[in-house]
Symmetry: C2
Subunit: 435 residues, 2 copies
């Protein structure tokens, strides 16, 4: 399979400006990125895509999500975290049955490919069902094996050995699936569960990740229980030695940030979730200045309430400007890097996140021929400040088109996905008496 993208405005991070040129994809790989017009024989290509008025750029890496939680989108908003989690999410989740996570994940994949996301780090129950959806759709995913879990539930809780078995199973499934390990958080896991996760990560030689310093309550409780801030506590448990990635990092002081920087820990920021849940605004400018790799994630659609990296980019770019009263903080280009190549780095995705010869063909096209893009004074700036995820008109993962012009190629029909998800939620609501 050989595909030509011609007349494209190509976003390259090592160039000052957008390049006007063409890109060739052979099977799963970008084999040419060239400045200028394509003037040879087009007949050798299986498909030629004219990219006039379109930006060709790397697909977004959604570095933190709980994909099947799309099922719970909008079920309980504008209530306090405890009511949301303990009275609604956990009861719903404890009634999840076989197949539910598959359909929830499929819905999340549909939403993501529509929005130009080409890979995700997914953290949820039922990882073999997640994997089934990822494999069927052709999406790229790190799937996190959860060592220890949020609640005691026979369906959800697995032993160390069962987790190992799952991990090995995932490895064999597809080159687009990479297993990794997480522990949910220091406030839901016992110390021994956290230590188990570190042990698992060491045994499987894979990175580890965790929700951390998300709320002031978490920080305060950790100080009281352990006499340490959450990052210090993680250090004491050996997390930071394991190429660790933390999600959120909203409530961190200078010492916390320096500690994470000294270990090369990645920080995944999920600004819209932090706003909507009332957690706060992460000190991303300080995190950046400490030299930490910052990636962006949407979090689950039950908390923020969609999977849209354009929204996260706008927020990551502007919240620090507002908080620090300085409009110069963060330039559009570095925000685009956070949403793509930095995410690939955090997720250990090799040859992903840039438009470069030899890289995996995770490519999207963004249509600029719309009122909110005009006049096109600055394409890079428009991508961060003006664009919408609906401007994405093509999403390719590993050389395969999964979305193009309102058509989805993810192995399941959109209508079937919607119907199954609605049925699942109706059943769960009935089982739990949640309205």
């Amino acid at each position: 399979m050989k595909i030509l993208f011609k007349n494209a405005s190509i976003l390259l991070f090592d160039k000052e400006k957008i390049l006007k040129g063409f890109v060739i994809v052979e099977n799963s790989v970008i084999t040419k990125v060239v400045d200028g017009n394509f003037s040879e024989n087009e007949k050798i290509f299986d498909k030629v895509i004219d990219c006039e008025n379109k930006i060709l750029m790397p697909g977004f890496v959604n570095a933190h999500t709980h994909s099947a939680m799309t099922l719970f989108r909008g079920i309980k908003d504008d209530v306090c975290l405890e009511e949301w989690l303990f009275d609604n999410m956990l009861p719903l989740e404890s009634n999840l049955a076989n197949g539910d996570v598959y359909w929830g994940t499929m819905l999340a994949i549909a939403e993501q490919v529509r929005a130009g996301i080409t890979s995700m780090q997914d953290m949820y129950y039922g990882i073999l069902e997640i994997a089934q959806a990822v494999k069927k759709s052709g999406f790229r995913a790190n799937i996190c094996v959860g060592v220890g879990s949020v609640q005691n539930n026979n369906m959800l809780e697995k032993s160390f050995e069962e987790n190992e078995k799952d991990f090995e199973e995932l490895k064999k499934l597809s080159e687009l699936i990479q297993p990794t390990v997480y522990s949910h958080s220091i406030y839901t896991q016992s110390q021994s569960a956290l230590e188990n996760a570190v042990m698992f990560s060491a045994k499987k030689k894979c990175p580890i990740s965790i929700h951390l310093s998300e709320t002031l309550k978490e920080v305060g409780d950790c100080m009281v229980a352990n006499g340490l801030t959450p990052p210090q506590y993680l250090e004491s448990l050996g997390f930071l030695d394991r190429n660790c990635t933390i999600y959120h990092g909203v409530c961190m002081d200078k010492e916390d940030i320096e500690l994470l920087a000294s270990y090369g820990t990645n920080v995944v920021s999920c600004p819209s979730s932090n706003l909507k849940l009332g957690s706060g605004i992460a000190p991303l400018y300080a995190v950046k200045n400490a030299g930490i790799n910052i990636a962006l994630g949407t979090d689950g659609a039950a908390s923020n309430n969609n999977l849209d990296m354009f929204k996260e980019m706008f927020l990551a770019a502007t919240l620090q400007k507002a908080v620090l009263n300085d409009s110069r903080i963060f330039e559009a280009k570095e925000i685009l890097e956070m949403a793509t190549k930095n995410g690939a780095k955090a997720l250990n995705l090799n040859l992903v996140g840039e438009i470069k010869e030899g890289y995996k063909a995770d490519i999207i096209l963004v249509d600029t021929n719309k009122p909110h893009w005009q006049p096109c004074n600055n394409l890079i700036s428009n991508l961060v400040y003006s664009a919408k995820s609906s401007d994405v008109c093509l999403t390719m993962v590993n050389g395969k088109i999964l979305y193009e012009d309102e058509k989805y190629y993810i192995g399941e029909n959109l209508k079937t996905i919607f119907e199954n998800c609605s049925k699942i939620v109706a059943r769960l609501k009935k089982q739990t008496n949640i309205k």
Copy 2:
């Protein structure tokens, strides 16, 4: 002209839930809003619109914008306010020529009808050109006559008498155009210019508006110069007696807010602009609790950088949750009211901003048959937290459809608008040596 919207999910502010029913529009007015199916003869209608899987709601009222600044979208981002304004915006604006504002306004109207906005309060130079674009397109607008102006420029500066002439001219143009008066701000206008604006407002018996308390610098400078906070200074000049609306209101303390409340002043919040320009986060929760009418605006596309009320709604709903660490602050429904009926109140638009019998037919349809809307657990919540402006599939102003399914009916062709705007900007850049 008689139009039937059938099978619609209708957003009504006086009902707890979305109503499933039908709406009839006759000429410019909503004549029926009915619970249940339409079962009579459809042949009496000129057009029947099936709204299955669509929400029918009032169009958004964009209560503050500078529409022709779409021309400058993305020209200079991520620089400090002074560099943006004095080195870029003002030189560009001082070279505006006849026709430029018309095309810039047309572009803004195209972007707005695409995004479900049906009316705006517009504040810019060249008001007769704005009016020409508004009239031609069929959009609804309050057009602000600027008494005093930001810069001394023969083309832009007008005398009191010339402004009066413009005001009367606007009144005659169209029932969809309502003239009103503004003074730009206390930091760009002399005290006598501000007093002139109040006098103008009194003479013309119209409300008055002004940018106020947008930045800490403005507040500090006002305290030093006048020994008063900006709201106190406005009071001393008689602004608050004139049914005043202030834009931004980012940097206000408890006394400021109480003062504005005591006069029934409206506050228009523009959260994305305040973030991107590094101004800060408006204390909207305190403003609401003081009983002040809060509306939302996009501000101009040169500062934030698009005209999207869905973006403003998400930010208005979530920023206070984050700042005050309480996810219960603001419910989705009151945010929808800010973006519609409260805006109509602030703009003095009679019978606008709700779906009600006897109201003007400013109606939009929002398509929910998309992955990021599924499963439809809560339509009201989804409108604020999950929806995108691209979900709007029909925009009607005063009974006339201005946008439907990627087609624009605004009196000018989209391609012509884009080309003219690009040409204008190319010329302005050449004249000013701005890149």
